[in-house]
Symmetry: C2
Amino acid sequence: MDQFEQQISRLKPDFEKKLQEFVEIPSVSLLPERAPDMHRAAEYGKTLLEEAGFKAEIVKTKGYPVIWGRHIVDPAYPTLSIYNHLDVQPGGEPEWKTDPFRFVKQGDTYFGRGTTDDKGPALSAYFASKLAIAGKIPLNLQFLWELEEEIGSPSYEEFITKKRKDLQTDSVLVSDTIWLNRERPAIPYGLRGLQAFRLTLETGEKDCHSGLCGGAARNPLTELAQLISELVDGKTGKVKIPGFYQSVKRASKKEIANFVAAGFDQEKFKKAHGLKTLRFSDVADLTARIWALPTLEVHGITGGWQGPGVKTAIPPRAEAKISCRLVPDQTPEEITDLMIRTVKKLNPDVQVHIEGGLVPYLGEFKGKYADAGVLALEYAFGATPAFTREGGSIGAVVTMKKLLGVPVNFLGLSLPEHGYHAPNENFDWRQASGGMKMFLRYFELISGRK
Amino acid sequence: MDQFEQQISRLKPDFEKKLQEFVEIPSVSLLPERAPDMHRAAEYGKTLLEEAGFKAEIVKTKGYPVIWGRHIVDPAYPTLSIYNHLDVQPGGEPEWKTDPFRFVKQGDTYFGRGTTDDKGPALSAYFASKLAIAGKIPLNLQFLWELEEEIGSPSYEEFITKKRKDLQTDSVLVSDTIWLNRERPAIPYGLRGLQAFRLTLETGEKDCHSGLCGGAARNPLTELAQLISELVDGKTGKVKIPGFYQSVKRASKKEIANFVAAGFDQEKFKKAHGLKTLRFSDVADLTARIWALPTLEVHGITGGWQGPGVKTAIPPRAEAKISCRLVPDQTPEEITDLMIRTVKKLNPDVQVHIEGGLVPYLGEFKGKYADAGVLALEYAFGATPAFTREGGSIGAVVTMKKLLGVPVNFLGLSLPEHGYHAPNENFDWRQASGGMKMFLRYFELISGRK
């Protein structure tokens, strides 16, 4: 056990205590009733940073604030900014075996909403920074902890714009991504974008009895079902909106070959995400579809009876919750235009409500920081990472790249089996402690130390 | 004011008290957690009947019991059985302005779930029976109060079979139907049948993140939306299942002419049911479609996110709640067969769960009892009823016709604006008191009195 590992193992009780305290604040940015918890999470984050010797501030925005902490050892040293987010997904899925907002420890595995996305990785970086400060690594550190990542980062640009002058940094490290599997770390160099919509249709004022009105009354559920089937092929996922694919920059043959070589394992993927069957069976096809092609998915259809059995009323209104994952060079604006135009044509009574949008991101996988990331991962976990794209979206990445103008790199710690956005979300000490070692090594490699 | 009316007006406080007590027992047969309330409703019904001098019994079945009360004045007199139901729809719609299970009186209007369907009409008949007994009308009376009408009467046949010998009756009167409008009573001679289904599709074990899996993962919501659009035209309601209309006995030209002559008012219909627009605008077309043609409606689609905004997870399973209203000579069995066969062909992974089914009913609108109904309605309300069909279903009717073998007639009291199966359900004293007068007159007309 080297010196790092000894130091890290002593941090375990404190890491678990802090992760527990974080998880038990249900900081669900999507649910307005959680606003008080969001502010508790911000206060708690600030307290942690101050405890580690950072100058910390809760920076207000029109939405939820950003927690900003800065530790300048010497202005002559390089500065690294580490991005994580402290907001989480809701926890209402019936498959949860434990309370999503109670921290449950089973051996070295930690259950609870936010353990892997993204409170656990945030704390790994946080504890690594404490060790870096104690070990006098010649590097200035800055934390950027967002509270609106899960709702598309609507206020992050406001934060960056407001504090731009004080945020000066040489590079940004984002820790909010997922490995291919436990043996195969991944460093993404691209992220899909997003555009979400709610399609609503109101045909009446109240439930109407299908015996009394059925046949004459319009049914918003059957009309929305028909509209959905005209927007996307339900089985293959092929989007039917005219022009939807026109701006897609197809992944090159070399990229696709890299995706395949990265070791994407179809069976492990199915197992990790609990999928019975997939739409396609070819690995090249599958990786391209999750990393390099856009989607249109329906995430929920409200309206009518949700209880047991069948209540034979025709509801007055219904809503389809839809999102499109976007890839370069699609833009949220372009896709919004196409959606509005197509819906207007197919069913003019349906209202299109525009929700969060994020530009897709395509970065570089070469250079000093990318090299340091590879070495740090190899050092901490003994495995060589694959360079992949990631199918998800992190709104803040695009903003930081655009406004700070410095390299943005990714070092994530989550595994497919950690259940990102899924019930029974978890994280584990192996990834947490390995993560601390990885971050520390990364700090050293990019520091001013010769 | 005649003698009847004086007697009736004195009953008002007691009617309101008993309707309040009934409404405030949330006897929702669809919700398993309401079982204790169902049994309270049965006990309360029995108490009422005993108070009026009936010999009453709570007759157990495999499901909820039936309350049976009998008052034999003289075995030589004719016996009339009056059918109502004491179970109600759930009350969860957001449009309720008052608590659905609190009785709220505004002037002579009574709000609360079950006021018009069917506790108010049941109590009108009940108070009329008290007056009939006091007035020594030579008629034996029997009440049949069901507790499973809203879930398709699954145990009513068991009850009739069990008590058949003791239930001897000369005719049955059902009070659970709706007028055309406040000025135009209606006596239905036909009811649509019903077959409900739940279509379920499970493609995974848990929510999966659309960033991580979107493109590769199957989406049960888009697949069900596509299936629905292949079963029914979402806009016109035309059912696309091959063979669905083959057994439909089309309404005759004379019947359609009667429907039009009945005075169906499209604008009033839209207003009463809170409908913004209808699928069709021709009255002959509309009345045929709600009374004499079958339907396929979707009543709810579960699966995925139901909260505010868009949560970008792909759910592991989804369910479409569907019902078909049936008309003569369609049968639930035939429609179930067609549904299973069609779904199997369109999406073999979708499971068809068979829910309640009811045979459609087509009775007569001639004869002694029908004539008495017309006279009683004219006497009590000063308006001539139209003979129509009704688009809804009452499972018990088909069972009573089949097993008791006597005429089954309808005298309802509900109005379209009472909000059957809808939020802000209500009943009013004009219909309640007029109803008592109507029942009393009907009792006299069919009694042994010369």
